[in-house]
């Protein structure tokens, strides 16, 4: 007998409620992250950052969002109408799905899957499709170049990313994010990130590349391709890409926190708090890196992936398998 549809135990109800919560979570975190990014950028550059709207400029992202919503949605002549408008939606929608299997807390599970990791990896792979569509659909040469870069970059970085994730999955013996988190402890030496730092490092580099963040922000490389794939997007079209970028960042940071930093586990604080603290620590690191480094060149980016990260990840995986085999 399946549970009542209105009760919280029904999987469909959980999914709907979870999705709504996720939308709220993404929206809220996107706004907070925009503020954090600008504030960090400001302080790194010896300026105060947003200041005038609200206390400490906290309301600045909201004002920005209102501005974006209020702008005209323009489409260049000769653009493919359907692809052009499908792209920003496609950028944003898969990311929200990725939030569902994230282990925020042992008791807070929008959708608990035994293959949650696979779901996240599959859906985050979809994100690149939106970049291709945006670049191709907008009938713009810069956009096209950006799209071409996005494809090569995404293909190159998914391989070491998967290998790094796999080494953790093999160590834990599970693809369930809850189980992987559960197998780690509350103290740093119990984290897979400390036990297997190479995989953690590879994952972090690939995460930055997957989310198109500096120094790997080649698809939108501002000083080379003006804005790359989203050159032609205005208003909320751009806004959705922007939000998707931040949502993507939260997802990869969430996965990193769950896989390598023991997720919700930690002393003194409650589960979800620890999880958010770890997620934001990784986000801060990504923001910090963005405001420090120049952008790498395209062939260097691919070289880094194929000549360094992929072999290292394979070696790491082999070591993990051997150790696991010896240990039983």
């Amino acid at each position: 007998m399946s549970p009542d549809l209105l009760s919280f135990d029904h999987p469909l109800t959980r999914l709907v409620v979870g999705l709504l919560c996720v939308f709220a979570f993404v929206g809220l975190n996107g706004l907070v992250l925009v503020w954090v990014e600008r504030k960090v950028a400001g302080h790194v550059q010896l300026r105060p950052g947003p200041l005038h709207v609200g206390p400490y400029g906290l309301l600045q992202p909201i004002v920005d969002a209102v501005k974006l919503v209020g702008k005209q949605l323009a489409m260049p002549a000769g653009a493919d109408k359907y692809l052009y408008w499908a792209a920003p939606l496609l950028a944003f929608a898969p990311v929200t799905v990725c939030f569902l299997p994230l282990p925020f807390d042992p008791d807070l599970a929008p959708m608990r899957l035994n293959i949650g990791l696979v779901l996240i990896l599959a859906f985050s792979g979809l994100g690149v499709l939106s970049l291709i569509l945006a670049g191709w659909g907008s009938n713009n040469k810069w956009g096209l170049l950006g799209a071409a870069r996005a494809v090569a970059q995404s293909v190159a970085y998914e391989v070491p990313l998967l290998l790094a994730v796999m080494s953790v999955a093999i160590t834990a013996g599970s693809l369930d994010l809850y189980e992987i988190t559960g197998k780690q402890g509350g103290w740093p030496w119990q984290w897979y990130g400390v036990q297997n730092p190479l995989a953690f490092f590879i994952f972090l580099v690939c995460a930055v590349a997957e989310t198109n963040r500096a120094p790997f922000d080649l698809p939108e490389a501002e000083s080379e391709l003006t804005a790359g794939f989203h050159t032609e997007y205005s208003g909320m079209g751009f806004g959705l890409f922007f939000l998707a970028e931040y949502a993507n960042m939260i997802v990869v940071s969430g996965v990193a926190a769950a896989l390598f930093l023991g997720g919700w586990q930690g002393p003194f604080l409650s589960g979800i708090l620890w999880f958010l603290v770890k997620v934001y620590a990784i986000l801060l690191l990504m923001i910090w890196m963005r405001w420090t480094y120049p952008r790498v060149r395209f062939d260097q980016l691919l070289n880094l992936s194929w000549k360094w990260l992929t072999p290292l990840a394979i070696i790491d995986l082999a070591l993990v398998v051997i150790i696991k085999g010896i240990g039983g």
Partner: protein, 385 residues
């Protein structure tokens, strides 16, 4: 929605030679005049094969302001403020080139104190130009923060120059026979404090940027140019010194009191973007050395010779070359004895430096082209004049 017909657009004469044929599988890309890394209003037509550049051609003239023509319409004095606008980043050097040419023509001697002040402010201005280039070049390469640090240091320098000249960017400080007004009393001490501060900041610049592995990857081996190529195109300044020829107008044709000072002329033989980068970074130190020497024994006396209120130089012509932040600046003035110059020719170093770009960019990636363009340190208003 109406179909977009490119045939209805007006033909762009500069891109005619770039029209692809029906079978050519190349992408024609117009980079600029509004592009984040073609500083100002440079337009570059690119023929791309994938992301590789097959052909590159700069299109100039978007900010042509007829400075040379203006010179013929104004008196010698009245043309002075134009010089600050030719190359707004190293206005002092242009001031100097024009003032020097007219002084040579009219036979005006500059007093010792005036020369020392001229050297000090020109070198200060060179530092400000290099600092801005440094920040902007890193912006081109995708690093956003260094420009803020550079501007932080540049601010101190601009405060000194503001106290001297009253303006912060487009100086018109030189007059025929010296400088517009004498420097304030604390000028020397402020300059010395600034050079000390800048020297203490240079290690930070090196750690943050110069040693950075990503930057080295973006600069080393990019846009390699040998001395012959540089000479053939008439490249000067850091671009020439970056390809191994230690040629500097301050040393090669010593003007003013530069012969008195002891300074090193940095040169790197690699000829790539990194070499040009290193030359400019070393020049920051060189300029600091010169400033120290110029202000630490500032001679007494007048800062300016008495020049006639209406200048009518004798018939004839004169050239004056100075070393600007971007290379050799030369002003050629021809007088017919009247109150207005008959002809003024401005030789902008950026123009020659830009011409090398076509050769350097061929066969590189689009990202490299941005790196090369930045490493040439172009100021478009100077090129277009």
């Amino acid at each position: 929605m109406q179909a977009f017909d490119t045939a209805q657009l007006p033909r762009d004469p500069s891109s005619v030679r770039f029209e692809p044929g029906p079978t050519e599988d190349k992408l024609i890309l117009s980079m600029g005049p509004q592009h984040p890394s073609t500083h100002g209003v440079l337009r570059i037509l690119l023929e791309l094969d994938g992301e590789y550049i097959v052909r590159a051609e700069p299109v100039l003239g978007y900010i042509h302001r007829m400075h040379e023509w203006m010179a013929e319409q104004k008196t010698y004095f009245q043309f002075m403020p134009n010089m600050g606008r030719v190359d707004y980043l190293h206005a002092m050097a242009w001031n100097w080139a024009y003032a020097g040419a007219v002084e040579r023509l009219a036979g005006i001697e500059v007093p010792e104190r005036g020369e020392h002040i001229r050297v000090a402010v020109t070198e200060l201005n060179r530092i400000s130009s290099h600092l801005l280039w440094w920040g902007a070049y890193l912006l081109d390469l995708g690093a956003f923060t260094p420009i803020m640090y550079a501007f932080d240091d540049r601010e101190i320098l601009l405060d000194i120059l503001q106290a001297v000249t009253g303006s912060r960017l487009t100086y018109s400080y030189f007059t025929f026979g010296g400088v517009y007004n004498d420097v304030p009393d604390d000028f020397a001490s402020r300059c010395l404090a600034f050079t000390k501060h800048l020297r203490s900041r240079l290690p930070m610049y090196r750690d943050l940027v110069t040693d950075n592995v990503i930057l080295r990857g973006r600069c080393e081996g990019i846009g390699e140019m040998d001395v012959d190529l540089a000479r053939r195109y008439g490249a000067t300044g850091p671009v020439l010194r970056g390809s191994g020829a230690p040629v500097d107008t301050r040393r090669a044709e010593p003007y003013s009191v530069y012969g008195k000072f002891d300074f090193r002329i940095p040169a790197y033989s690699q000829g790539d973007a990194m070499a040009r980068y290193m030359v400019r970074m070393d020049e920051l130190e060189t300029s600091c050395d010169i400033i120290d020497q110029a202000v630490s024994n500032l001679p007494d006396g007048p800062c300016s010779a008495k020049a006639p209120k209406t200048l009518k130089p004798p018939k004839g012509e004169a050239c004056y070359a100075v070393e600007g932040a971007r290379g050799k600046i030369l002003v050629h003035v021809r007088s017919d004895g009247g109150p207005k110059p008959y002809r003024v020719k401005l030789r902008a170093p950026g123009f020659s430096n830009l011409s090398v770009f076509c050769e350097l960019a061929r066969g590189t990636l689009l990202a490299d082209a941005v790196s090369i363009l930045g490493s040439l340190d172009l100021v478009i208003p100077e090129i277009d004049r």
